[in-house]
Each structure stands twice: as C-alpha cells, then as structure tokens.
C-alpha cells in the first residue's frame, strides 16, 4: 500500500487491498477468540467447580497468564512452527493459521481466568439448589456457563479486544506478508515505520471503530441480560 492516497480515500473508494486487510484482521481475531472461548470457558468453569490440592496455585498462575507478553508467545510459536522446529513440516509458518494459533494462546488465559471468576461467584449462589437437585458435575458446568452467559459474553469480548489490538506476536509468526498475513495492526506498524503517518492513522481509525462497535455490542448484550438479574 504505497502512494499518497489518503486513508479516507481508500476507505470510501472501496480499495480492495484495504478490505482484504480488514477481513483478515477480523477473521484472525474472531477465529482466535472463538477457539479460545470454546476451550477456555469450560476450562475456567471446571476450575471454578473443582477442588484439589494445588488448585489455588493454578488459579494464581492462570490470572498471571492474562498478562503474558504477546511477543514471547509469538517467539515460542515461531520456534515451534519454523521449518527447523518440531512442527516445521506442517508448513504453518507465515500463514494466517499461525496467527490464529498465537492469538488463541494469548486470549485463552483471559477467557479462562475471567470465566473461572464468574462461575465461581455464581456457584456460591447455585451450590445448594443444584446439590439438592442432584445435578452431576458435567451438568453443573453447563448450567453455570449458560446462566452466566451474559457475563461470559463480556469476558469473550474482552478477549477479542486483546486479539484485535495485538501486533507483536502476529508480526513474528505471520511475517506481515502483503496480501497474505498483513492485518490492520501490522499494516499500521508498517506504515508508521515508513513515515506514512496519515495512512497509519486512517487504518487506526478503522480499527478503533471496529473495537468500538464490539464494545457497544457488549454493552447491548449486558443490558439485555439484566432482565435476568434479580
């Protein structure tokens, strides 16, 4: 994306390269968030409901993982997927898949830790009644996850926010290849480094709008959810 076209011009002109970048950004971040939610929410719920020696240590560790530096994950995944690494023959380096993997690893602790907190709080309320109904452990997880659905949506959207804003790790494993692994954040980094600040700002605005829209949706969901509150 060279040249002196202004970002607005690109947006309203329907520049296909720009759309490709936005589409990739959303696919990667949404894909990672969905995966992380599918894996992380049940994990967090299980952790909330189980009692075993060392559980407290795991809870603390999980909370700490929320603050994992993305570049560290990026580097670790890069070494895994590199052709000279253990999973090199899978040919995943410098592909969107690698980016999804990395972001999933970043978002999973967030969703798991938040879910654990949400479910644990709810469990205090639900424990007696579910015990009286003889509800088994697996059903307990499903019941609490469903009843906590609105709070969980908030947690998932927090995860999405983290993924959408991230640049360091996907830069390393994706390579910022034009047309293949260039997302909004990596494009912004690139254009900034080229001194192409107006374009970088334009991209930044678009990213901001997307994140804003997601947060508005989250707020909407929470509002709707209050009808099920006491």
């Amino acid at each position: 994306m060279t040249g002196e076209e202004s970002a607005l011009g690109l947006v309203f002109g329907g520049d296909p390269a720009l759309f490709a970048i936005v589409r990739l950004s959303l696919s990667v971040s949404l894909g990672a968030t969905v995966l992380a939610a599918l894996l992380g929410a049940p994990l967090g719920a299980l952790l909330a409901l189980s009692r075993f020696p060392g559980r407290q240590a795991i809870v603390v560790a999980l909370n700490a993982l929320m603050g994992l530096p993305p570049v560290v994950i990026g580097l670790a995944v890069y070494l895994l997927l590199s052709r000279s690494g253990p999973l090199g023959s899978w040919g995943l380096l410098f592909t969107p898949t690698a980016m999804v993997i990395t972001q999933t690893m970043l978002v999973l602790p967030i969703i798991a830790a938040l879910t654990r907190q949400i479910v644990e709080d709810l469990w205090l309320e639900y424990r007696d009644e579910l015990a009286a109904m003889g509800v088994g452990p697996l059903r307990r997880v499903r019941t609490l996850l469903w009843d906590a659905r609105f709070s969980l949506v908030t947690a998932v959207l927090a995860g999405f926010g983290r993924a959408a804003a991230e640049v360091g790790s996907i830069l390393i494993v994706g390579g910022n290849i034009e047309g293949f692994t260039r997302t909004m954040t990596t494009a912004i980094a690139l254009e900034t480094s080229k001194g192409n600040l107006p374009l970088a700002m334009g991209l930044g605005m678009i990213l901001l709008c997307i994140v804003l829209a997601v947060n508005v949706a989250a707020w909407g969901v929470r509002q709707f959810g209050t009808r099920f509150e006491h």
Binding site: S84, G85, G88, W90, L92, T95, I177, F180, S193, K194
Partner: protein, 279 residues
C-alpha cells in the same frame, strides 16, 4: 496417535484455508522470499510480484526483515530464497552451505540526507568519505540503523574506509537506533541528524521535514542486490524448483526489464545488472 496428529494438522489447514480464501490454492505454488525492509518499502515488490506470478504462476510471499534477520530466517530453513544487499554476509551465508550461490540481480544507491541547514557543510563535496569525516569532526548528530541490515553494513564499511572509528557507547553524536530505515529516518528528521539511506526509501518517505539529499553519486554508495536460493541439501523442505524458477525469471531479460521499469515519483529506483561482474 499418528492419525490424531494428521487430523489436527488437517483441521489446522482447513482453518487456515477457511480464513484465507487464497491460502489453500496458493500453498502449492508459493515460495517464501526473505528480503529487506528497504526493498519492501520501496514498493518494488508490489510492482514486480504480480508480473512474476503472471509469468511463472508462482505466488511469492515476501517476509521483509533486515538483511541479518533475513539471512537468519533462511538459516532456519523458513525461507526458500533470500533477496538482500550485503555482499559479505551473503558470501558467508553461501560459505556456510545455507545457500547455493549468489546471483547479482540489480543495484540502487545510498544517499546521505540531512537538514537543509547542513551544519557539517557536507553538501559542498560529492565525496562521501569526506562528508563522514566532516560529520565526525564537528560531532554532528548522525543516526545509524544499527540492525545488521545491508544499509547498516554499508554504512559501517564507509566509516572504515573514511578512517573513522565510531563507538556507539562513547560517541554521543552517533545514534544507533537498531531499527528499520523508516523509523531511523523518522528519528533522524526529528533530531536534525544526518543519516545514510537508500534512495528508494527516501523517495517514498512521507516525513521529510526540511531534510534533503546532501551527498549522492559517489561510486562508493553503490548498493548491490543479490538473489540466493536456499540449499535444499541443508534444508529439505525448501521449495527449490520454484525458488530457482523465481530467480531465473528475475535474471532473465524480461525480469530485468521489469526491474528497470519500476518507477517511484517518476524516478527509476533500481538498475538491473544481472550478468555484470559480481560487485
């Protein structure tokens, strides 16, 4: 267990192709070329790659890093071809057995840019060595990329040729930023410092401020680019056939013509010189 691994891999590939419509189709006839940020930023690839694809059907994925990083990526086998501009590093790369041979393909030039006010007075002479000496003499601020890139290595060679010893730890006027050309230029403009840059990056740089080209045309500022195919003996996963096809195209008259045809703001940036004596 093997089956589960295969399933996992298949799922991941499906995931990948679901995300990028072009991914699955492109995978087969694609190569990874490790190149430099300066080449990428010049816009050359945006112009060249569609033509390469049209002619050879190969989808080229360019990972743009500094020369040092690009060669390291290739050392890990993560690239099929390297396209960089640092003779010494390239020769070492080939000597180590990671690459088959150097193929000089084109050159561009470096220029010394600085504030219009030009406190060191380098504008007066087209001699880069004298210019560097003047900067050292007056201890005027100078920004270096400091990132083992081709540009950085060229800069270090010039200091050496000028007989100037620079120690980033001691010389406060010499700022080693450890970043790509764009950020280095940003920093230079912001701090009114002299900086050595490739012409292409300079032309497309948006943030020039009062800066202008002060020294150019000195033969010592000549910047040779070469293509190297990663050695498939050493890295079996290398897509050697496709990589060679890519190299062959760029070295061919058609490819050389494409390189010459690329212009930025009305200026030709790269001069094809495949087949000339290696620089």
């Amino acid at each position: 267990m093997r089956f589960q691994v295969k399933m996992a891999r298949a799922c991941l590939l499906l995931l990948g192709s679901a995300i990028s419509a072009t991914a699955l189709a492109a995978e087969e006839r694609s190569i990874v070329v490790a190149s430099t940020t300066s080449t990428q930023d010049s816009g050359l690839f945006g112009y060249l790659l569609p033509r390469v694809q049209a002619s050879t059907g190969i989808v080229v994925k360019v990972v743009a890093l500094g020369t040092g990083q690009a060669l390291d990526t290739a050392r890990r086998g993560d690239a099929d071809v390297v396209f960089v501009h640092d003779v010494d590093a390239e020769e070492r790369f080939v000597a180590e057995g990671h690459g088959l041979a150097r193929h000089p393909v084109m050159y561009n030039d470096f220029v010394l840019v600085g504030p219009a006010a030009d406190p060191a007075g380098v504008r007066r002479s087209p001699d880069i060595l004298r210019a560097l000496q003047a900067i050292r003499q007056g201890m005027f601020p100078f920004v270096s990329r400091g990132d083992r890139s081709g540009t950085h290595q060229a800069e270090l060679r010039l200091w050496k040729a000028a007989g100037v010893e620079v120690d980033p730890a001691v010389d406060r006027w010499y700022r080693s930023v450890g970043q790509g050309m764009g950020p280095a230029l940003n920093i230079a403009v912001a701090s009114d410092a002299y900086v050595l840059t490739d012409r292409a990056t300079w032309i497309s740089f948006r943030n020039k401020g009062s800066f202008t080209v002060l020294v150019e045309g000195d033969p010592r500022l000549f910047n040779q680019y070469s293509l190297i195919l990663v050695n498939p003996q050493k890295h079996p996963d290398t897509k050697a056939a496709l990589g060679q096809q890519f190299i062959d195209y760029l070295l061919s008259p058609a490819g050389q013509k494409d390189i010459a045809a690329y212009q930025l703001e009305g200026q030709q940036l790269f001069h094809p010189n495949a087949g000339s004596p290696a620089h």
